[in-house]
Symmetry: C2
Subunit: 429 residues, 2 copies
């Protein structure tokens, strides 16, 4: 039965009257002629357009009024038979792709319209055929979650899998991951797998595959080129560098943040350029430092989630902090204002937290720049109350690092020492 | 008695042996010769330098080993007699400067080393003499707080004062304010004083006056030029545009954020250029829109602080949200991930909040970009649970607007309507 997922009104009428459906390969003739596959639509949208996936991999929206004729080239069923069995090229390096979910790791099932995970290497290679010219890619689905549903337990699961393959013959590892919390996961892996011998690239896509110009393929290709050619190790987030398709950025996994809700270049290295840029087949290095501060591989795959991130704002009621303390939290990461401040109204609760032996770390909601608590009287007050400035650690990274440090130490004093040590470039010079 | 605030070790020895002290006007001769006033020091710092305030207004740190000779020109007492009585120039427009504290509104008392508020017009004009050529400036100290200590009650106090002078003959109003929470205050004033007839400029400084290249004077001059020449109304944050001293940026008070802890150009308009740029005596306009969406002045100076900003992160325990609900909060502004998501583990608590009639608004911790909750299944789930996407409102602005809306409405339904209405450019197109 022909499927028309997401099409309504005029566009649905148009598909039906031309006897074409989602998944059909068609030629649409108008002022210009386009050949491609009719894509399902998921967004609340108008009924004036149909979306084609072109052979180039791009999606395009076509106004139905401007289509003079539409011809069916192949129907859905034929396409699904076209997946080739992939032959390995023994001269190419081996890459492992671990899939955790999100837009990047999904393909649209043209018959049902459902977004499903990429399951096999042959499926991956048929959707991004360029990959097979760069590397032999093994794939494995770890789980399939949108990244807003990825929890610290998932971080542990990914880290354990990576630990298992640390001594394999892979040249590098791709982790396909939803973008929403990718920088939290990359931070955890950076700490838990300090010194990991081969490079790890977390890759996502900002545009779902039924939208025009999805970035999934280009980000995967960029990451693969990077892993094969970078000659370094570390944990990287690999995404579009700008709104063009010319450059792919490789960010340090502990210095990066999703700073835009929808742009393909949403990820930015805070306070610096991305560590590497991939431009065509060139890898441009922008950093002199090694990602891991200690070369020895030293996996510590534990964590303790009794850490709260507290963003301060005018009117923040210190009773909220009291409740957190009463719930047995072991550490508070403040997202203070400016150089690392919170208001005087917080002092009593902070004092109580300190007396309870709770770790109190300060970051800034400015995101960029360094905390400095010696400049103003209020900062000095907070230092005296036991709050520890966390240099220029990004708040989210400080949160993850503290969870990790608590899970891998005997007591708060040991955790504190670990938190302040530069492990994976989370502290810039 | 000579004062040496902040000087220790060698630098203290140097001052004493040369019989000069903080506040003295001196000539320091070395490879180059500098004349200026010896400044107190507040930061934990080395003992190798002394700091001079030059006649240009800049501060400079001089290495004592390189000073071959230092001559006292005038001592402290003489300087303090030099404050002229200011004469008004009747041909110039009138500006009111309200001081609330922070670095900008302070001057260093050279005798005690204490940072004290600027109290009188004559003191202001003697520290920034250029101002008296642009406008006649009346000054008033409302209170004196570092901005991390400014609370919603202070916002009300500022708004009431502004309301009192809405029908005066001032051309514009400067609010000297600490930078840490300046964008929260500017947001509140934008809503509470919607349609205010004359322009309001919040001005801060990022570098304290005992540090090299304080930006206080240039920001004040830029703001005064802007208020006198802009021919518009609205609430603006006026600060350095970049690290040079060439351009001053005027940001819309509801679209701006402190995005760097220490840079002079810390404030940025989110997702756009600043609304106006002051370059020398020119005012460049970058916007076609009016700041206030309704021209009528319609003051509503109330608020309700029972609003919590909840930043979601992997591992966020929904019990924290439950506690907030149990404390009687009337509204939650989520700082979700990406397009506006929170994890499935939050759904039960969100459902409960919705059933209690709590307003649930969604913003994004990406800061830049628009929330869109119809793209992914998880977003649609959250919409069904009663969460309302707040377009591209900056999280901090959404928080302040919700406090204000709750304080000026009879019930949650009325508040909701107000929150979604574009009042002061807080929603961009």
């Amino acid at each position: 039965m022909p499927e028309h997922t997401g099409y309504t009104g005029k566009s649905l009428e148009f598909l039906k009257s031309n006897d074409v459906a989602v998944g059909d390969s068609v030629k649409a003739i108008g002022e210009l002629t386009y050949s491609g596959i009719i894509m399902p639509r998921y967004e609340h949208t108008d009924d004036q357009h149909i979306v084609l996936k072109l052979n180039s991999g791009y999606n395009i929206g076509l106004e139905i009024e401007k289509i003079t004729k539409i011809e069916k080239l192949t129907s859905t069923e034929k396409i699904s038979e076209n997946v080739d069995d992939l032959k390995e090229n023994p001269s190419l390096p081996k890459i492992l792709l671990l899939s955790t979910g999100g837009t990047i790791a999904s393909k649209v099932d043209y018959r049902t319209g459902a977004v499903t995970p990429i399951l096999t290497a042959s499926e991956l290679n048929s959707s991004v055929p360029e990959l097979s010219e760069i590397a032999n890619i093994d794939t494995e689905v770890l789980f399939s979650e949108y990244s807003e549903n990825i929890m610290p337990d998932h971080w542990l699961q990914i880290a354990r899998k990576l630990n298992d393959v640390a001594k394999s013959d892979y040249t590098g590892i791709i982790i396909a991951h939803g973008t929403d919390t990718m920088h939290y996961t990359s931070s955890f892996l950076s700490f838990a797998l300090a010194g990991y011998p081969i490079p790890i690239a977390l890759v996502g896509s900002q545009r779902s595959s039924d939208r025009a110009s999805s970035d999934a393929a280009l980000n995967l290709i960029g990451a693969t080129k990077f892993l094969v050619g970078c000659k370094t190790n570390g944990v990287f987030v690999v995404m579009h560098n700008d709104e063009s398709d010319n450059t792919i950025a490789c960010h340090y996994g502990t210095r990066v943040r999703k700073n835009h809700t929808s742009k393909r270049s949403a990820f930015q290295t805070i306070g610096d350029n991305p560590a590497y840029i991939i431009y065509e087949d060139k890898i441009q290095k922008n950093t002199k430092d090694e990602f891991f501060k200690n070369k020895k591989f030293n996996p510590k795959i534990n964590l303790d989630t009794k850490v709260a991130l507290v963003k301060y704002y005018p009117g923040y009621d210190s009773k909220l902090l009291d409740e957190i303390l009463d719930m047995g939290y072991k550490a508070i990461i403040f997202e203070g204002t400016g150089l690392g401040h919170i208001g005087k109204t917080m002092y009593d609760s902070v004092k109580r937290a300190n007396e309870k032996g709770v770790f109190l770390g300060m970051t800034s909601q400015c995101i960029d720049g360094r905390t400095r608590m010696t400049v103003y009287e209020s900062g000095r007050d907070l230092l005296n109350l036991g709050i520890i400035p966390l240099e220029d650690m990004i708040p989210e990274v400080a949160l993850v690092k503290t969870m990790w440090a608590l899970g891998n130490s005997q007591d708060i004093e040991e955790a504190k020492k670990i938190i302040l040590e530069n492990i994976a470039s989370e502290l810039s010079k």
